[in-house]
């Protein structure tokens, strides 16, 4: 690597995560969430609690905002439009008419949480996942502070006894750990299921088939709003959806040919390059 080489091929060396970086990805797990289909039933959130051994923090701690929902349904009221339609008076919160935004870790390819962790407890896997290593985490919480989506949750307490008193501890998912106090956690795209699927595919000497397994939120969604799959597989449902809606990875601004296509990524202008595409809700008002 001579200096001349560096100077002449500078653009090559400047490749960040968003251009594929230095990773040779085996898979790139991605998602598409159709907000038109989302009815805000919170089944995904509940399924996530069951699948991922999320602590049930209780009313008191929830009100202190110490909840651990990896998958959360955000509710927004588009007030100006609702006002115009005479459905709401200004400044008054109503129970109906909300738009829902299911938020789970966006598995950013250029994740802002990764470079700031002092002990590299969060890093990028060859699966395109943003992994969190609980055993390595020392709980500096810098990752959460640098996550623009605020999708990281911290174990403020030791929840084991409170959350799963006997015999409820029998319902814990044995495929993954129960986190103790002082570590950060977040959505993993059900990495335990990915592991099983990959192992089975390897044993059968084949590739992972699209739709072979589902994440628990996808599985529980009654309206099939969530589509999950491998973005490197050109035949997968999720790849096709992204293509249809003209959303591409590695861009901070999408160059859409057709502006009517509903796909977008949350806060992609920050160049975090998230792996989840949302399909905008079309309102009738």
């Amino acid at each position: 690597m001579s200096l001349k080489n560096i100077l002449e091929n500078w653009s090559q060396y400047r490749r960040g995560h968003e251009q594929g970086g230095h990773h040779e990805y085996e898979h790139m797990w991605g998602m598409a969430i159709d907000l038109n289909k989302c009815i805000g039933c919170n089944a995904c959130s509940v399924a996530c609690y069951a699948e991922n051994n999320l602590a049930i923090v209780g009313k008191h701690r929830y009100s202190k905002s110490q909840a651990m929902h990896w998958m959360r349904i955000e509710r927004y009221w588009d007030e100006p439009e609702l006002e115009k339609a005479g459905l709401v008076t200004k400044g008054k919160t109503i129970e109906t008419g909300a738009s829902f935004l299911p938020m789970l870790c966006q598995q950013c390819n250029a994740a802002t949480c990764e470079p700031v962790c002092p002990v590299a407890a969060t890093y990028h896997t060859p699966d395109g996942l943003n992994a969190q290593v609980y055993n390595r985490c020392i709980g500096s919480r810098y990752c959460s502070n640098n996550c623009p989506y605020r999708l990281r949750y911290f174990n403020f307490w030791s929840y084991y006894e409170d959350s799963w008193p006997e015999p409820l501890h029998m319902q814990l998912n044995p495929d993954l750990s129960v986190r103790d106090k002082g570590v950060m956690e977040k959505c993993t795209f059900c990495v335990q299921r990915i592991r099983v699927a990959k192992d089975e595919a390897k044993m059968a000497d084949r590739k992972v088939i699209d739709g072979e397994f589902q994440t628990s939120c996808q599985q529980s969604c009654p309206t099939d709003a969530i589509v999950f799959g491998d973005m490197l597989d050109p035949q997968s449902r999720v790849t096709k959806l992204w293509k249809t809606h003209q959303v591409e990875l590695g861009k901070s601004k999408q160059s859409k040919q057709n502006p009517d296509k509903r796909g977008y990524r949350v806060l992609e202008g920050l160049n975090t390059d998230p792996c989840i595409m949302y399909l905008e809700r079309v309102r009738e008002v």
Partner: protein, 465 residues
């Protein structure tokens, strides 16, 4: 009105006597202060044990306010450590000799506030028993810390700064420790004998000493600037609105010097009063410190205005939202208090009458530091509570555990300082003598003439024919 920095007629034996006297026979007030500091420290220790056993939840930190008072207070203490270096290194290099009677305790303050600051990142960790993972040690598993993380830079910067400033404090004290050794008995004699490293005051020793001291001073200045720049990069390197600010490094350094100078004024007055150091910590020196503080306060104010303007005209909507929230939202009372204590109150330092009035200055300097603590809280708090995702907008109300630990950190600092002033000379004896010597030569005409003669000059240089 006293205008001289120091009385040139003061005898050198008197200087020794006065300083050595301050190190012996603690009075009742001293023990009361020690008791108070211990009690404060006990509060923090109890709170910390509770937090350690139960989890960070007892601090009432929440999602997304993950940092809270701990990190704010961490920056506060790091900041306070900077003025010691300012006095002992920067003013040394630019030959401002008025620093000489007051730099020793300022340098001690540097070391002790760093020792306090260093505790906070550890306290705030969720699993503090694994804190050593941020250090690059050789492990079987071949795991290293993440060198891209500003927190790792922090760890390096603080350790380096703590080591160097403690060394600098010690090196600058060697001639004084020799004086102590010559006048002490019992365990003190043993201690000072070891610490003074066989100082005999020979020419050769002085020559080496001067070189080492100057070298350390030159080393420490860029280090001090870089330390707080690195602390600021904890914030500036992130992408959050209100943190991702290019002016943060100079802003933090200015804020650091500011709060440090204010703390010097506070300790100046306390030491002057309790140790009866009126001869050394004189009003003119106080005035000079106040002027310095005022200048730094204005730099800080200016950098504040720059930050507001660049956020406003930069028109990043999210950053603007956070800024507006600081001015008129939830944080407004604290924010306006910070601006008042930080930018308006220092104007009291511009008036000679007030500057020379110690009780006023004592109160003012304390409030300046309240302002500077609020500044750090206003850096950490608002951005966490309001960032990109509106759903995650949330406030935090720190619990008694957090307050107890913050409160106790002052006790810990005070305790270290109290121990220091009774074991080590808090006024630099040899440097005060130097100062007196130079002033005397400038003061007495014959000596001044002689002083300006160089070896080999035939006749004294005078204007009169």
């Amino acid at each position: 009105m006293q205008t001289k920095d120091i009385n040139e007629e003061i005898k050198w034996a008197q200087i020794n006597k006065d300083v050595l006297r301050s190190m012996e026979n603690p009075r009742k007030a001293y023990w009361v202060a020690v008791g108070m500091c211990l009690a404060m420290l006990a509060c923090a220790v109890v709170a910390e044990i509770y937090q350690y056993r139960t989890g960070m939840g007892v601090a009432d930190l929440n999602w997304p306010n993950m940092w809270g008072l701990y990190i704010a207070t961490f920056i506060f203490w790091i900041g306070m450590s900077h003025s010691g270096t300012l006095l002992s290194a920067i003013l040394h290099i630019i030959h401002a000799d008025w620093r000489k009677p007051i730099y020793r305790f300022a340098e001690a303050m540097t070391t002790f506030s760093l020792m306090t600051a260093g505790l906070f990142p550890v306290i705030h960790l969720g699993r503090m028993w694994n804190m050593y993972w941020v250090l690059p040690y050789v492990s079987d598993r071949g795991i290293w810390p993440n060198f891209r993380s500003p927190l790792v830079w922090d760890a390096f910067a603080i350790f380096t700064y703590l080591t160097s400033s403690a060394l600098f404090l010690f090196i600058g004290m060697i001639p004084d420790l020799a004086i102590c050794r010559d006048n002490a008995r019992g365990w003190r004699k043993k201690l000072y004998t070891v610490l003074s490293l066989g100082w005999a005051g020979t020419d050769r020793q002085w020559r080496h000493f001067r070189k080492t001291y100057l070298l350390m001073a030159c080393f420490l200045i860029p280090l001090a600037v870089s330390v707080h720049s690195i602390v600021s990069s904890d914030f500036a390197m992130s992408i959050m609105p209100g943190w991702h600010v290019t002016t943060f490094p100079p802003y933090f350094v200015a804020g650091a010097l500011y709060s440090g100078c204010a703390a010097i004024i506070t300790l100046f007055i306390i030491l002057r009063y309790f140790f009866r150091f009126e001869e050394y910590m004189t009003i003119p020196i106080m005035e000079k410190t106040c002027k310095l503080t005022f200048a730094i306060a204005m730099v800080w104010t200016y950098l504040n205005l720059i930050e507001f303007a660049s956020t406003w005209y930069g028109h990043d909507l999210v950053a603007k939202e956070v800024l507006v929230d600081k001015f008129v939202g939830h944080w407004a009372p604290y924010f306006w208090a910070m601006l008042f204590f930080g930018s308006v109150l220092p104007f009291t330092l511009a008036f000679e009458k007030l500057r020379r009035h110690l009780p006023t200055m004592f109160v003012v300097s304390l409030f300046l530091n309240v302002g500077m603590w609020l500044e750090r809280w206003m850096i950490v708090g608002p951005t966490l509570s309001m960032a990109y995702q509106p759903f995650a907008w949330n406030f935090e109300y720190p619990s008694m555990v957090q307050w107890a630990i913050v409160f106790g950190s002052f006790g810990w600092f005070g305790l270290l300082f109290l121990v220091f002033v009774k074991i080590f000379p808090s006024v630099s004896m040899y440097e005060v003598k130097e100062m007196v010597y130079h002033r005397r030569r400038a003061h007495v005409e014959d000596q001044a003439v002689a002083f300006h003669r160089r070896a080999g000059d035939g006749q004294p240089v005078t204007d009169t024919p």
